[in-house]
């Protein structure tokens, strides 16, 4: 794996004064142009992050039932929406109910011996020492930094008060823990900023915020104890310390959760929550198929970018995938429940034939069915999705005053093919401009019906799935995947979105040089996603910030303050 110099700017920063705000410009020392840092952000945990943290801190057998408030998608990513959402009263109710349900399991008889390591002197009275021991340990992981003495005393007192009322030590502990799980310090990732001692006038995330930035990016979860220890000792602020942690984290099995989270976000898989197909038209499509389809695409991606560490772009062309019996019904491939050597795993590796139009994730059910209405397919919707998701290109909204009468008759003719119906768009100039960038792509996927099933004929006519994507001609869906593979926009797209996911905001123009550097480095490394993630995680740009004036002028809150 690439481990060459990716550190820059040490001792080479100059301070600009622009618009009254001191701005740090980091000078390149290894091929990166000057980078002007962006602002810090405050992010609400996403639903998946919340679940991951609970699993990592308390174990996988804690049932996270219930529902969290919906995440918000902005600029294509929930990771950016997270920097803009707040918590409403209804959302607070849900967080509160979930926190109590989780905390109840943590202290129940099944789990307490493992998770609450101390024994209270009496189970009907407060035991501050035992409560303190548990709350300090849980608090450090949930708050992603050690609790201050004042914070810890607050929770210990809260537990003791609740124990006094309920005459139950564990009930008190439970309620104090659930208060921690509903505190803003847990639910929001607030970035703590400090002056950068290495560069006058520059600011950086403090060590614990840096640990979170790293951990949520690579693992989509909170820092583990080792990473927090590296933050506490100051190692994380050193180059070798950071590299050591990045290497460890990339080698960790938890990296898969981070990669899955990125692609699930980028592919808009939250839309599976409301995906349904008409039962009369698509009787084979059900909730199990939908769940398996989602998982199929993620497994396909993980196989390419993580297991085999191949060229990222192969996710658009690979013939290799994984199927279950439920998916086999849609793909018309027999998949047996019993795997090789009697393995009970429902998931079986499968490779489509060389001449099969199925290749890459764009031809999979999780794409073709997800981007279709309930009763049919839609080349326009699918074409728009390819542009937006695979190439990060924005398709303008349709004009408001479309005169549909010009092609109403064509579009209402049920016997024609989609290609014929959509050709009407070309006859209306205000439609043609946008539809020509969507429809030809979507028509390449016309061999797949609204539920992702394969077909060759529509309305008695042979389907023509040929087309051109940005100058590259293709014959069928597999050819579309090849055209996306060759499209430079597919590379820019993943670099931009991955960086934005890490930052929790759009990349600013001042960070353009950093992106350019990442792109060229990505190419140098054969478009291996792990190398790109490592590069981003090791970049100073991820941890240096330009605080807003309010933060910059105020004394930075020292979270280690101790009240004696």
């Amino acid at each position: 794996m690439n481990r060459r110099a990716r550190w820059w700017g040490v001792g080479a920063a100059i301070v600009l004064v622009a618009g009254g705000i001191a701005a740090t410009v980091m000078m390149a020392s290894s091929g990166v142009g000057p980078v002007l840092s962006g602002p810090p952000v405050t992010r609400r945990l996403t639903s998946v992050q919340y679940q991951n943290i609970i699993r990592d801190v308390f174990g996988g057998d804690i049932d996270i039932g219930g529902r969290l408030p919906p995440d918000l998608r902005l600029e294509g990513l929930l990771s950016i929406g997270a920097s803009h959402v707040s918590i409403t009263a209804a959302g607070m109710e849900q967080y509160d109910a979930m926190a109590r349900a989780i905390a109840a399991q943590v202290v129940d008889e099944k789990h307490r011996d493992m998770l609450v390591r101390c024994q209270p002197a009496s189970i009907t009275a407060p035991d501050e020492q035992c409560a303190r021991e548990f709350l300090a340990e849980a608090g450090r992981l949930l708050y992603r930094r050690p609790l201050t003495d004042r914070q810890l005393e607050t929770y210990v007192t809260a537990a003791a008060d609740a124990t006094e009322i309920t005459h139950d030590f564990y009930q008190g502990l439970k309620l104090s823990l659930s208060a921690m799980l509903t505190s803003p310090a847990f639910l929001f990732r607030v970035e703590v900023v400090e002056p950068d001692p290495n560069e006058e006038g520059a600011y950086r995330l403090d060590a614990y915020s840096k640990a979170s930035q790293l951990s949520f990016f690579l693992w989509n979860s909170a820092p583990d104890s080792q990473l927090l220890a590296a933050a506490e000792s100051g190692e994380l602020h050193t180059r070798s310390g950071l590299e050591e942690q990045v290497e460890r984290m990339i080698d960790s099995p938890r990296l898969e959760a981070g990669i899955r989270a990125f692609f699930a976000d980028q592919l808009r898989f939250t839309e599976f929550a409301t995906l349904a197909k008409d039962a009369q038209l698509f009787p084979k499509f059900n909730a199990q198929v939908a769940a398996d389809a989602r998982e199929q695409t993620l497994r396909t991606i993980i196989d390419v970018v993580l297991t085999d560490n191949r060229d990222f772009r192969e996710i658009f062309t690979t013939k290799e995938t994984f199927l279950t019996p439920a998916l086999g019904a849609i793909y018309r491939v027999p998949i047996y429940k019993q795997g090789p050597n009697g393995s009970p795993d429902q998931w079986q590796p499968y490779e489509f034939a060389a001449d099969d139009p199925r290749a890459g994730i764009l031809t999979q059910v999780a794409f073709t069915a997800l981007h279709s209405p309930a009763g049919r397919g839609s080349p326009t919707i699918r074409g728009k999705a390819v542009r937006e998701i695979a190439l990060c290109q924005e398709v303008p909204a349709p004009p408001g005053d479309v005169d549909f009468s010009k092609f109403l008759q064509a579009s209402a003719n049920p016997t024609s093919t989609a290609r014929e119906r959509l050709s009407a768009h070309a006859s209306v100039p205000s439609c043609a401009g946008c539809h020509k960038i969507m429809d030809p792509i979507g028509l390449a996927l016309e061999n797949f019906n609204g539920a992702g099933g394969y077909r060759t004929i529509e309305g008695g006519v042979q389907i023509d799935a040929s087309g051109v994507l940005d100058g590259i001609p293709f014959e069928n869906a597999a050819g579309l995947g090849e055209a996306v593979y060759k499209n430079p926009a597919a590379v820019s797209c993943v670099v931009n979105r991955l960086s934005e996911r890490a930052l929790g905001r759009q990349v600013t123009s001042g960070e353009r040089n950093w992106l350019d550097y990442l792109k060229s480095d990505f190419a140098d490394n054969g478009y291996r996603l792990l190398a790109l993630m490592e590069e981003i995680a090791s970049s100073e740009a991820l941890y240096s910030v330009l605080p807003s004036q309010q933060v910059a002028s105020a004394p930075v809150e020292n979270n280690r303050e101790v009240t004696q």
């Binding site: 918590i87 409403t88 607050t154 003791a160 009322i165 509903t182 607030v190 309930a374 909204a397 809150e557």
Partner: protein
Amino acid sequence: MKKLATLTTRRRVLRGMLGGMAVSVGLPFLDCFLNGNGTALAATGGRLPTVFGSWFQKLSFNPGRWKPETVGAGFQNNVELKPLDPFRERMNIISGCKYFLDGKPLQTHVSGVQIATMGSIPMGVDSDPSLDTTIADVIGNDTRFKSIEISLGAGRASLSRRAGGAINPSEPSPAALYTRLFGPGFTDPNSKVFKPDPTVMARRSVLSAVADERRSLLKTVGMADRERLDQYFTSVRQLEHQLNLQLQEPAPIESCSVPEPVGEVEVSTAVGAVARNNALFGSLMAHAVACDQTRVFNVNFGTRGLRTPGGVRDWHSLTHEEPIDPELGYQREVTWFINFATETFATFLHELDGFREGDGGVLDRMLVLWQTDHGYARTHTMDDVPIITIGDGGGRIRTGMHIAATGHPSTRVGLTIQQVMGVSISTWGRLSNETSKAVSEILV
């Protein structure tokens, strides 16, 4: 040492409180247990509190088929509003209003929604608050829920937002709404015995204990994030308020009754599921209002994806793709959906109206605002948008009128309703959608 002293004091108070169960005199956090109005009103025979509801249904009606022929009182409903005939004397129809774009591009099915509910053009996460939240800030402070958001076939999407990033999520499942309203946190006002739950007391005590620690986070963030955290703290106060209510012996409410539990049902965009869930939601809201659990509710009637079994196209697709029937002069299938939607709304209203309370139904003290996104969905027009009000909010407006407000901003209606609900604003909306002119015809 100081901390220890504080701790001891708190403990002593708590112990005393538990010894005699004297919950009305206790820690300072119990001060707000006894509200001066609300539930107390029902018991003392005072006027029952006003309730505001909103119903948003995109895709509008067919031109020429919804507007009454005559203006003023005594109008007859046009064909597409016939399902609302039982409420004709209690409704107002406002026709002719416009959504102004002020040169901004029309975002179809979005711009109109924003102007109708927020009075201004879309501004993403920086958008203005929706009018139901400004109303809830006035009339919704004493109830357990400041507002209830319901979705009919629209997932958890909601049009109710305090600020851009604080969207009140909708509840799509009647079973989940039942649990939220009448599940473990519900205190039956007519229960003969009242004994505060020690667990609730303990929860309230914990919330009180951690309040200062939580607020300390505010010091570390910039202005924009501070607003978002402020919203968090507002939500925490609502949670505290709910616990306070659970610890307070509620005043009896004669008409309050707990509905039969609602089991899990299919939640989807199929018309059958929407119709069934609508009736369940209507009944639950009638009970919730009668039991004074909330005074504001918002229904988001989903139109995208709404379809009949085996239907290849949903309502939204049909508005664009179905040809106009040359004999009928309108789109046949689209019109089926329009009728379905209006009948669904009427069923919801019947559920409210049928719930008896004193001499009338709970609808009598409600004011329900019906709005839509376009004048004519097929061509995305932004003028002559239909607006309907149902109920007089307990005598706060006049009803039975058709008001033609040709060319006026739709926000006149939103302004009027906020004003009669007690929101102290003199203008509402932005740019051309800003107005200071109430719909005087319906003012009492």
